[in-house]
């Protein structure tokens, strides 16, 4: 199983029946592949849709039915559409139960940076800042390290997405929570030891009372 699949499968287990969920681009998008339809989770696309379904078969795309990246998408029976003010009212207003977002850095207090690398990547924040400010739970789905550098850092040196801490970070090596506002190791991936996670984590990690093996 590759790193992305481990992350997506573990995040999928966080979703509860009937949740309204917004998935960001990248690894978060993969989460939908591991959520059983029986769970009746509603997926929101912030361009104005609740009830997003799979990518349509070739030839069945509709030009006016797309995801937030402008790619064709489908709508499940029971879907609803709305304008952008409503869409972000849902997000900021705490009506979205869970958002899953990619990350560039998360720091020891749970602050996320995921929208800008000054001088290199300045695409704009899109909906990320509203999602982190307003969703009931914010889950970051990202690789533990990039190019050998830990993405769980003491303090973000990239611009923050919000001053509100995230709820949970799921990586290919570990699940990290922030009880009492400090990064705490909750689970390790199968075959990965606590020591191995600590060795590749830049931030100081508290060790939970019972570090479990990640169920995927």
């Amino acid at each position: 199983m590759d790193a992305q699949e481990i992350i997506a499968r573990r995040v999928a287990r966080e979703l509860k029946p009937g949740n309204l969920v917004n998935l960001g681009i990248g690894i978060p998008t993969l989460v939908a592949n591991y959520v059983s339809p029986d769970l009746k989770v509603f997926f929101q696309s912030e361009n104005g849709l609740i009830g997003t379904g799979p990518i349509p078969e070739q030839g069945l795309e509709h030009p006016l039915l797309t995801d937030a990246g402008g790619r064709p998408i489908s709508a499940l029976p029971g879907a609803s559409t709305f304008d952008s003010a409503m869409s972000f009212g849902l997000i900021r207003g705490g009506h979205v139960d869970v958002t899953v977002l990619g990350g560039l850095q998360v720091d020891a207090r749970g602050h996320l940076a995921n929208w800008m690398i000054p001088g290199k990547m300045v695409p704009g924040m899109g909906g990320a800042m509203d999602l982190v400010s307003g969703a009931k739970r914010v889950i970051v789905a990202m690789q533990h390290a990039a190019k050998g550098k830990s993405k769980i850092v003491k303090q973000c040196n990239l611009p923050l997405t919000s001053d509100r801490p995230v709820s949970l970070v799921v990586t290919d090596l570990a699940v990290i929570g922030f009880p009492d506002g400090r990064a705490t190791l909750i689970e390790t991936a199968p075959g990965v030891s606590v020591g191995e996670v600590m060795a590749v984590t830049d931030a100081e990690l508290l060790i939970g009372d019972h570090v479990l093996e990640m169920k995927i």
């Binding site: 797309t66 003010a85 400010s133």
Partner: protein, 217 residues
């Protein structure tokens, strides 16, 4: 509401105008109006649009033709030309959070001076803005946004100017239709008055100034 040709409608837009353009990654964007803006070479435009779409699509066409001098948007990462024009200072870009973008326009159309939002507190977005506490929680004061023109794309329009939108092409169109001095609309289908049921009208006719009737789609 007045029915006009796309050529007449765009002729009303002066060089240097401020224009809101509906759409999200080019979906729900009035493409024919933008094609005509390019053909008539309206330059030095201030564009207010969620994103810069992609080259050749939606607002992207205005960057292809280098007609934009200012852009207020939430995300331009999928248009390398717009990024390039930002990095070389050909275009002054103001990037703002998408929910804030929607609410500033909504405020502009609804007679509000602005809105208080928690989004952006403690980030770069807060720089230079007033922070106001309400019940112990910090918010940013984000001011209303309006434009001289709104270019809106509907799915259905009737000959009075009532509009309804389809699927994800609604996005910013309804809020923009309230936040500009002059509202110009294209529609996929123009239908007789009464075909859009009152409950299904999303933008009421009095908000629409001009409807393009010489070309559908």
């Amino acid at each position: 509401m007045k029915a006009v040709s796309v050529e007449e409608a765009v002729a009303m837009i002066p060089t240097g105008a401020s224009i809101m353009v509906g759409g999200f990654m080019g979906v729900g964007t009035p493409e024919r109006l933008l094609d005509e803006v390019v053909r008539q070479r309206k330059q030095n435009l201030t564009i207010i649009s969620n994103d810069a779409a992609t080259p050749g699509k939606g607002v992207g066409k205005l960057f292809d033709a280098t007609l934009v001098s200012r852009l207020t948007a939430t995300h331009i990462g999928l248009n390398p030309k717009a990024q390039q024009q930002m990095l070389t200072n050909q275009v002054a870009v103001d990037l703002i959070p998408q929910g804030t973008f929607a609410e500033r326009i909504r405020a502009g159309g609804c007679g509000l001076g602005g809105v208080l939002t928690p989004t952006g507190v403690g980030t770069l977005v807060a720089e230079g803005k007033r922070q106001i506490e309400v019940d112990g929680k910090p918010y940013l004061l984000e001011t209303a946004l309006r434009a001289q023109f709104a270019l809106v794309h509907a799915f259905l329009a009737d000959y009075l100017g009532n509009l309804s939108y389809a699927l994800t092409s609604r996005n910013f169109n309804p809020v923009m239709a309230m936040a500009a001095d002059t509202v110009i609309v294209t529609a996929e289908h123009i239908v007789p008055v009464g075909v859009i049921a009152p409950d299904h009208v999303m933008t009421p006719a009095p908000l629409v100034d001009y409807l393009i009737t010489n070309q559908n789609g």
